[in-house]
């Protein structure tokens, strides 16, 4: 599987295979045994509090959901269809206006059908998080094509 799980490969899958992540500007920063780190650039479009300029919680949810799903692929070392079953987020403090947000996700348990994931969102210090999350995902949720094959097809079509 070498080459499938390097950062540029995953970034390419995100850019062509996950249109919403591409639209909001999600980037893959790190992948390792310990999990996945993704970033979201600060953008005025995603502000939830027009007075302070603080980002809306929903966009943090999207970043965390994306990193949480991706860390399962990295853990399994393959792309199988997955679906979020449930996701809980505790918003520990407001994101600082103007600053990029990072999410680090770790799949801490993989069973035959379910993956269990922990994630945090932060600016530059994972020890000082903005949000904490736990989520579960269904594995092999559909009979559709794995993400890497699907996005490869989309690139070939271009």
């Amino acid at each position: 599987m070498s080459g499938v799980f390097d950062i540029s490969q995953i970034q390419n899958i995100i850019d062509v295979g996950i249109p919403h992540c591409a639209d909001i500007g999600v980037k893959v920063e790190e992948i390792s045994e310990a999990g996945v780190v993704m970033s979201l650039p600060y953008d005025d479009r995603f502000v939830g509090n027009p007075v302070s300029g603080v980002l809306h919680g929903g966009i943090i949810t999207t970043l965390i959901d994306s990193a949480s799903g991706m860390c399962i692929y990295v853990k399994m070392q393959k792309y199988i269809p997955i679906a979020t079953l449930d996701l809980r987020i505790d918003y520990l403090k407001s994101a600082v206006p103007g600053r990029d947000v990072f999410a680090k996700a770790t799949c801490y348990r993989l069973s035959k059908q379910i993956a269990f994931v922990r994630a945090i969102a932060y600016h530059d210090d994972p020890e000082d998080p903005i949000a904490n999350s736990v989520s579960t995902f269904m594995l092999k949720s559909t009979a559709s094509k794995p993400l890497n094959e699907a996005s490869k097809k989309m690139v070939d079509k271009k």
Binding site: I18, P50, T142
Partner: protein, 149 residues
């Protein structure tokens, strides 16, 4: 964007409520504008609508909406409901948010409505529900706690 003070913001909400200008409510928050969220009212009940947009796709092979967008839409619906039905003194802050994904969401329009389970003095507890074509087939439900004072 920050030339908008807290008082002005609350005043704009009150004005929109008084004139039943629901469109103004969603245009006050940039992220609601990004989602293209609409607010509709019938018999004092509020329903939010998320339009069909390719940019919300999370899985193009199914195709399905991104789970994050569904979550964000539910959270936004809860906030709109609080703004429109409660007497607010500040913009409520989300504290905890839990989504259950029940069905894969098609890349089509979505609807959602919220109820306040307990309107506390400091915290409002809410349930939110989203559906697509069939109101009786929810795609996701959520539970939210907002700090309101």
């Amino acid at each position: 964007m920050t030339d908008n003070s807290s008082e002005q913001f609350l005043e704009s909400i009150l004005k929109a409520k008084a004139s039943k200008d629901w469109e103004a409510v969603s245009s006050l928050i940039p992220y609601f504008k990004y989602l293209g969220m609409e607010v509709h009212e019938t018999d004092n009940k509020f329903t939010c609508r998320l339009p069909q947009e390719k940019k919300f796709t999370g899985n193009p092979t199914l195709p399905a909406l991104h789970g994050g967008v569904v979550g964000a839409f539910l959270e936004s619906t809860a906030l709109v409901h609080l703004l429109l039905t409660q007497e607010i003194t500040q913009l409520p802050k989300i504290i905890t948010f839990t989504v259950d994904y029940l069905r894969s969401a098609k890349v089509e329009e979505c609807f959602a409505e919220a109820v306040i389970t307990k309107p506390g003095r400091r915290v409002a507890n809410m349930r939110v529900r989203a559906w697509q074509k069939d109101r009786n087939k929810p795609i996701a439900t959520a539970n939210a706690n907002f700090l309101v004072s």
